[in-house]
Subunit: 160 residues, 2 copies
């Protein structure tokens, strides 16, 4: 999703450390489901405009089958403000706003909307940190009537 | 975005004709902007689950620079119902519902949500038809206080 010929837009310079492909392992839990483990690949790209493209895909560690996926964009105006605009194949759109603080991005949904066939998710919190070649994130979620509750944690390594 | 080893999920069999990559040319207009022309590439993929991934990118025909982009998913439950879950780098999420009628998909937004820095879009209508190796779409939009108004029309050809 990158255009190698374009320079990174200065408004997203503070997100430059995310660019590239990351692979790793995560664990998921929620009060209403069995805990699970997953393998994940995340890609951040850019085309020289003031946003990064974002895509991730996971497979279940127990059977290797595709599990979750997300596609969207990280957007900034050159301040510490950042927005995440996301589509989920589960029928949800997610719009988050938050802040960039050095290697750490903290986001909270301002809107989660579900189609008529989607499971009800009310809110999402995402915390993402890059340290050297390691990307770590935690995701908390308020869904199916429950308050904000831990859901996902993963650590990924930058791919060559 | 495809996993070539997976069979297409039967719930999205009616969308099989979309799979692959399409390239072509489009024209855009809106009462508040100068008309413009664009070149576009669209890709539909799948991983064996009941949705297709969808991504598009356009470049301005006059200067070749990146213009719009969208990422998301088309989702169906095997009936004629279809959902489009979309993220826009302009800070918008778009959730559409509609119907599949043979080679034609008609969608209308049930939700368009903008971040605090996004331009106000109220609703979107999308009409997409495949005839052989040609994909044609029309997009209408209610934005910046205007009623539903023609915005985009393009014709793309399936790539080998």
């Amino acid at each position: 999703m990158s255009d190698a010929s374009a320079d990174l837009h200065p408004d997203v310079a503070a997100l430059a450390h995310l660019l590239g492909t990351w692979s790793g392992h995560g664990t998921g839990s929620y009060p209403t489901i069995e805990p699970f483990e997953y393998d994940e690949t995340i890609t951040f790209g850019h085309v020289g405009k003031p946003f990064l493209s974002y895509g991730q895909r996971t497979t279940r560690s127990d059977n290797g089958l595709p599990s979750h996926a997300e596609l969207g964009y990280l957007r900034s105006d050159g301040t510490s403000a950042v927005e995440l605009i996301l589509a989920h194949p589960t029928g949800l759109t997610e719009l988050c706003e938050g802040t960039i603080d050095g290697p750490t991005i903290t986001l909270r949904s301002i809107s989660v909307v579900g189609s008529s066939t989607a499971k009800p998710v009310r809110a999402v919190e995402r915390h993402l940190t890059v340290e050297g070649d390691r990307l770590h994130y935690v995701l908390r979620m308020s869904a199916v009537g429950l308050p904000m509750t831990h859901h996902l944690e993963a650590e990924l390594v930058r791919q060559a």
